[in-house]
Amino acid sequence: MTALLLTLLLGMQDGLSDADCRKLHDSLKPPAAELWRNIPWKVSLLEAQNLAAKEKKALFIWSMDGNPLGCG
């Protein structure tokens, strides 16, 4: 019986409390000031090409397996 109570208590301590949940959720928000995100990335090739053509700029393409802004 003691072992069962201990297990239950430990289990409760491991659970996600309201405070844990809010703190963890905040901590998993991407930092606002990441250097690589300061670059004004586009994810549409069409849009980026059109802007590059209009502004007479070169096109820098970061091409990966999985979008660099959204996978892994």
Binding site: S27, L28, K29, K56, G66, G72
Partner: protein, 275 residues
């Protein structure tokens, strides 16, 4: 102009956008469009290659850009149009749907990093999105969590993607997932595990849902639990034993370019993803 893409889609697109991309990569050493074409390319707006490297170190990239830009003369270029986007590789959020962002992190379970790169992996934040159908969105507004939504989240987002692209969970690997909303609080549990038990995740979920004027205005959810194993590209520098994995969801603000990225889980077969 800086562009970040998943080349898995672009090199396959049978449309003007795909043609433009292939035109650039075929001028580079990464010129086999039947295999990965990943790398860093510099091109003129009309598609002439100015530079390429597949080395992501700042020094290499800076040198490539510097060298490539010496050969660039700004001039007139036609605006690319894509009147018939290839539907097989350009997915659209269904009307009335909703985009959630999903960020993941290994909270504990790593050994001391063996290299600088391993240290980066250990601290990295996995990023993805979860697309929600109109009926699922409406159900959340009513305080219901549709099974299809729970399953999509479990299969594609309750996953360790902190070191690259993982394999999504298969249907049979979703051993259990349950979510309910009561008084604006979402609680639930999930158990995902491969048949041979070499990879798994057992998590508790908790979050807060708010609705205003018939619209979901908050969906702050956290999943936390014990995970083990690796898959796909997540093998590099993976935790040796069991580890604590957390995933957080929130409504995409719609102001971030990353909100437009297609869900990783939709890759290969979009209709199956939205089912």
């Amino acid at each position: 102009m800086s562009l970040a893409i998943d080349q898995w889609y672009t090199r396959r697109q049978k449309d003007a956008e795909g043609d433009f991309y292939r035109k650039i990569v075929l001028q580079s050493p990464q010129n086999n469009v039947n295999a990965t074409t990943q790398g860093l390319f510099l091109a003129t707006p009309d598609g002439k290659l100015l530079g390429f490297t597949n080395n992501r170190s700042p020094e290499w990239v800076r040198a490539m850009l510097k060298k490539g830009l010496t050969g660039f003369t700004p001039g007139e270029a036609e605006l690319l149009t894509n009147p018939k986007p290839d539907p097989n590789f350009t997915y659209r959020l269904p009307e009335g749907g909703l985009i959630l962002t999903a960020t993941s992190k290994v909270l504990k379970g790593y050994e001391k990093p063996a290299s600088l790169e391993a240290g980066f992996f250990q601290n990295s934040l996995g990023r993805d999105v979860l697309w929600v159908r109109k009926d699922e969105h409406q159900a959340l507004v009513r305080g219901d969590v549709m099974k299809s939504f729970q399953k999509r989240m479990a299969k594609f987002n309750l996953i360790d993607n902190t070191r690259g692209e993982p394999h999504p969970w298969q249907d049979a690997e979703v051993k259990q997932v349950e979510m309910t909303i009561k008084d604006g609080v979402l609680t639930g549990t999930a158990h995902l595990e491969t048949a041979n038990g070499d990879r798994g995740y057992k998590a508790e979920l908790r979050g807060y849902v708010e609705v205003r004027d018939g619209k979901l205005t908050k969906f702050n959810l956290v999943s936390r639990g014990e995970a083990w194993g690796y898959s796909g590209c997540t093998e590099a520098a993976h935790p040796k034993d069991k580890f604590m994995l957390a995933v957080a969801f929130r409504i995409a603000p719609g102001t971030d370019e990353a909100d437009k990225v297609m869900p990783q889980g939709a890759k290969s077969w979009f209709p199956d993803y939205m089912r």
